[in-house]
Subunit: 434 residues, 2 copies
């Protein structure tokens, strides 16, 4: 069938079969199907949707458009984790070493931040010398030796997804659940893990703002992964306020270190224990979720999780003295407290806006090639449900430019809604899908 | 608004305003909006449709993307006619001179044939020396002098439509009523006439196969034209069998000549009288449709219509001896009768298939640059409702290749459905929309 015929088929609401999807993705990657036909197809998919079978076929076709990472050199079950991205989301920094401390083989591909959401690689680069440019050999050796390695996505990982996403981005065809799910899952499947734990964020700071959308994205991804033979779990976690208190690369690393030492914020600790328990059980390093949680929690308090973090930073070229002495991590030249004039209860935090404030300070990327200032960001002192007195500090801004600092202070005040009555809050874990 | 925003707006079912549509069409014609964004927009329009206002705005934006023909040099009301195309459709060859014989100023742009439908220009080129490459000056002078000129569409006529149609053609976005209507009407409006009579074909040989689709296309076009200030009428005419008996360029010219001499087939004669009456009334050359029809019919029988035809052929460089002696027109080297073995009533003629048989004989164009054999084609002897005896001639094939002739005979027999019982037939004029 020609691409024209495939467009007509989808336009009329019919499902494409596996051979059709494979050929379409191969030809598009090779450049023999032009962008203008593919964008028409993507728009038709936005209106007609895709079946679970089609979504799985598209995902696998994109995963196989480049090399599938061969992790057979790693002994045991390889577990990957993916977050759909949020504000203050330093989960991987804590979760990876913590899970590795139970013997889980954490072989993870990470990305950089874009827009209001940060990226794990940027955060890790707060350590002098740290690199995610590992050869496959180094990657496998590190996982075998210390149970954890985090590498940057190579350009050969699911190149079809890369090309297709760039097209969708400019043709108004991003917001279709099956396309979003297949884009994420194609990279995960190409990354070669046996089991995948998904952290699907929901709320104002997340890509999916409503719980229903988050649940359907989670469900699509779990379904694709299972059809592709992967052991899958998705956790839907709250992103209606930043995770933890720190937003900004080095600031988040410091909070991650405290969490690995058993002194982290309650929401972040709860999230890593939940995700980590699934990882440990999937990797057969714990008998049950309860067993896993108790041993993971122990390792946060007995120094083992932090010790793996130290080994991990060292193994990837980072200066471990900065882990032992976080004050050596990049720090901003200006810090200023944001103080409220009227007191009350924090009812709402405009989370995406908080991410944008960090971006404004220089802590994020507007385009793919923007430089990132690792030192700047925001440390919140109050979160949803908290009471604040007049004159009390709401947050501290870390900046390197006084103009940006002033603007950030003003915007941060506006990002909080403070009301006279106590308000209900959501738990960090909203739902688990297996 | 950026093109991205316009795509999202349409995707969400909102109407684009005039300024947005104008800018979009200008930028697309200039090449600053890429094909891949426009094809996504076209697909979104296929699902969300366009309002009458949007359709009018799109039509006018495309009409104004090139030069609007300035026909102010022609005295009186200029009337154009457009057919949506069919098999054996030689209407313009008869209608133009016939209307001109009443003093109607017929200033017409015509196209060439493509696929199973023929084109007026190809047919007229059956006359040695005939040309449709007229300067605007020649075009206007001819209309002022003999009330008729037919020119080929210049590349500067609605260039946005040309570019957009080529894109729609390969992205599965042709079959949307408002887009079809605006494509046709943009060229008609750019052609500068004051009044337009549309001949919308319906049935198996037409672009619109169902009566409902034909009526909605007719209604869209009349609505656009009226919003653009044109005097509009649409006639929906039957294309569930070829028009007249001849299919193929020179064969159709011969049938047109006989019709201009009052000896044409009933369906073709009825159609030209209906369309011509509207044209004469719009041009204020007749007091009523009845008055127009009676005088037009007179001119088919008293030689005046044919005399204008002779002047028209001469004025555009054609050899008028071929009009007086049609046997001098191109003729095929082989002719063979198709004879039926079993008799009965003609219930159905696969009309598009008959068009394709003419194409197969070489009488049409598969791609825009294919050469056309003006001499070949088919002359039917029986049409729907007719009785045929065993051994009687169903049709005659005119060919220049014995292999193609044999294949055409076989296919033509299969294109007829002959049944034992008499069957009902449709009138040629199905409906008029004003």
């Amino acid at each position: 069938m020609s691409m024209y015929d495939l467009i007509m088929k989808k336009k009329h609401g019919l499902a494409l079969n596996q051979a059709e999807i494979e050929e379409m993705i191969q030809d598009y990657t090779a450049g023999t199907i032009p962008d203008y036909q593919m964008s028409a197809m993507m728009m038709a998919i936005c209106f007609q949707g895709m079946t679970k079978e089609e979504t799985k076929d598209l995902t696998l076709a994109m995963a196989h458009s480049g090399e599938i990472l061969d992790l057979s050199g790693i002994s045991g079950i390889k577990v990957d984790k993916h977050s759909t991205g949020g504000v203050g989301d330093k989960t991987s920094l804590v979760l990876g070493p913590m899970a590795a401390s139970l013997g889980v083989s954490v072989a993870k591909m990470s990305g950089r931040g874009l827009g209001h959401t940060g990226g794990t690689i940027d955060k890790l680069e707060s350590f002098d010398g740290f690199t995610t440019s590992l050869t496959t050999r180094q990657f496998i050796d590190n996982v075998n030796r210390i149970h954890i390695a985090i590498a940057g996505q190579t350009s050969d990982l699911a190149p079809a997804d890369k090309k297709l996403y760039a097209l969708r981005d400019v043709t108004g065809t991003v917001d279709q659940m099956s396309l979003i799910a297949s884009s994420i899952m194609s990279k995960k499947i190409a990354s070669g893990a046996d089991a995948i734990v998904l952290d699907v964020k929901t709320g104002d700071g997340a890509f999916m703002k409503t719980f229903e959308d988050s649940r359907s994205l989670a469900s699509e991804m779990v379904s694709i992964g299972k059809l592709a033979g992967k052991d899958m779990t998705a956790v839907i976690s709250d992103m209606d306020q930043p995770l933890g208190y720190a937003i900004g690369n080095a600031l988040e690393v410091k909070e991650a270190i405290r969490t690995l030492q058993g002194e982290g914020p309650a929401d972040l600790t709860e999230l890593v224990l939940t995700l980590g328990s699934y990882m440990a059980v999937k990797a057969k390093k714990a008998e049950s979720l309860t067993d896993a949680r108790s041993r993971l929690s122990d390792n946060l308090h007995n120094g083992r999780a932090f010790e793996v973090f130290r080994q991990f930073i060292t193994a990837q070229g980072g200066d471990v003295r900065q882990a032992d002495h976080p004050e050596l991590l990049p720090s901003a030249s200006l810090t200023e407290d944001v103080v409220v004039s009227e007191g009350g209860y924090v009812q709402k935090i405009l989370t995406e806006e908080v991410g944008r404030i960090s971006l404004l300070l220089g802590g994020g990327r507007i385009t793919k090639d923007s430089p990132v200032d690792l030192s700047v960001g925001i440390v919140l002192h109050k979160k949803k449900g908290d009471f604040i007195k007049p004159g009390e500090v709401l947050a501290t801004i870390h900046a390197n430019d006084s103009g940006k600092l002033a603007l950030a202070k003003e915007k941060l005040l506006q990002a909080y809604r403070i009301v006279p009555e106590p308000t209900a809050t959501e738990p960090i874990i909203r739902e688990n899908l297996e």
